[in-house]
């Protein structure tokens, strides 16, 4: 028969780790979405003037996350900033998400036909009203699937924060495994956690998408 040394305490430990993963993802996506939306609009509306912004975002997109985590974590010690590794974790993930989200939003905004904006303006809507009531909601429909994928990617990438000493889902699995030495089983459960959360997010996403498509 199958037997294991995994205790119920270990499971609680795993759930706590999973919760940290979810928190990191949520905070990073909050930062990423707010700034990504803002920057995405700027990139779509002022393509030339915003080239410097594009360059900076490109750097954050291309440098491996692990390096960014370790860099900011070390920099903060050198400068003497009193922020926790957890903060470093979600800030770095958030900036990374913002860089990717900018491209997603930019694509969405560019997908809104110019004639639609002209129609809105010719009804007397101001540029801001057009942006908020027409362009943003229509761009959001286009950008939504990409945004959802981004969220799932950020959740998986959040496992890298284990390198700066944050105890999230992957790290809890490692610690439990060190004690009971059942890698297959422990990591299977950890993987299952990731899968279940991703699955739930996708399901909610599909539902939201159907609602967005209005039928």
């Amino acid at each position: 028969m199958f037997s294991t040394d995994l205790t119920s305490n270990d499971l609680i430990f795993l759930v706590q780790g999973a919760w940290v993963t979810i928190e990191l993802t949520a905070l990073a996506m909050l930062i990423g979405t707010v700034f990504g939306t803002l920057f995405g609009f700027v990139r779509a509306s002022f393509p030339t003037a915003s080239i410097p912004l594009a360059f900076v975002l490109d750097v954050f997109r291309s440098v491996p996350l692990l390096i960014q985590f370790v860099l900011l974590n070390s920099a903060k010690s050198i400068v003497g900033l009193k922020i926790s590794p957890f903060t470093v974790g979600y800030v770095v993930l958030g900036v990374y998400a913002a860089a990717l989200c900018t491209e997603i939003v930019r694509g969405g905004v560019l997908a809104v036909p110019k004639s639609l904006r002209l129609a809105a303006r010719s009804l007397g809507l101001t540029s801001l009203q057009d942006t908020l009531h027409i362009t943003l909601p229509i761009a959001a429909r286009v950008a939504f699937p990409g945004w959802l994928n981004l969220m799932l990617a950020v959740m998986k990438d959040s496992a890298l924060v284990t390198w700066i000493g944050i105890i999230e889902l992957l790290r809890t699995a490692q610690q439990i495994n060190t004690r009971i030495n059942e890698p297959l089983f422990v990591f299977f459960i950890a993987g299952l956690f990731y899968y279940v959360v991703s699955w739930a997010v996708s399901q909610l996403g599909n539902q939201a998408e159907r609602r967005l498509q209005n039928d």
Partner: protein
């Protein structure tokens, strides 16, 4: 009254409107016909300030459209425009499409805006489609919705830019009927159209555009029935 005085418009080095002068009086229906690329759409966009002009002037009820201090958002409330692409706001229902500008621009309450929108949608024959999303409508219905959306602002002028060109042939009639209805009600209109028969029937005057200038303008019987310029004759032969 719309007064267009010697208007020039260029895109970069390409001058597409080359000194156009014409007036449209209150209650008048003026059609603009002419070949592709002759500058018809561009002129319409200049009238409500969606495009800038390089020279000349356009005045709407005495207001200089292209003067520095002109509040274009305010001016545009009085000039409805319907484009070739029907430009439905796909994330809003038919009713919400029509209510949006009265709410945001005229600051009407929800119930006031709804009353206005329902009235205009009934007017164009879409009274039974209020809660439907535009994606479910035919092209002709979407175009009639676009007309209702413009009318909901109680404009003094309506500009139509080939409102039926993107429609399947069997849907053209219903949109033309709606436009005819407006003409009969006394709306001041400028129609850019390839529907020569329709133009002849509803217009008080017809202008023939060619390469950025008006070659002929006058009553439909003159310009369409008995054209004087070879370019006009040539054009009419190609479309009739």
């Amino acid at each position: 009254m719309i007064e267009i005085q010697n208007v020039h418009k260029s895109f970069g080095d390409l001058e597409v409107v080359k000194g156009v002068t014409m007036n449209v009086n209150k209650g008048e229906v003026v059609s603009i016909i002419g070949g592709s690329g002759s500058g018809k759409s561009t002129l319409l966009m200049c009238i409500n300030g969606l495009e800038t002009i390089q020279r000349g002037s356009i005045r709407v009820d005495g207001i200089e459209v292209h003067a520095k201090g002109t509040n274009l958002d305010k001016l545009r409330r009085r000039i409805g425009i319907v484009f070739q692409q029907w430009n439905a706001f796909a994330h809003l229902t038919v009713l919400e499409n029509v209510m949006l500008a009265p709410r945001l621009v005229l600051k009407l309450s929800r119930s006031e805006a709804e009353a206005v929108a329902v009235k205009q949608l009934k007017h164009v024959g879409l009274g039974d489609k209020l809660k439907v999303y535009p994606g479910r409508l035919s092209g002709g219905q979407q175009q009639r919705m676009a007309i209702a959306r413009a009318l909901a602002m109680s404009p003094d002028y309506m500009l139509f830019d080939e409102a039926t060109s993107a429609l399947d042939p069997q849907l053209v009639g219903e949109v033309l009927d709606t436009m005819r209805l407006l003409a009969e009600e006394g709306m001041t209109m400028i129609l850019v159209t390839h529907e020569i028969k329709f133009a002849k029937e509803v217009s008080d005057r017809v202008a023939f555009f060619h390469k950025g200038v008006i070659h002929e303008i006058g009553s439909p019987d003159q310009v369409i029935g008995n054209p004087q310029k070879p370019e006009t004759v040539q054009f009419l032969k190609s479309v009739l």
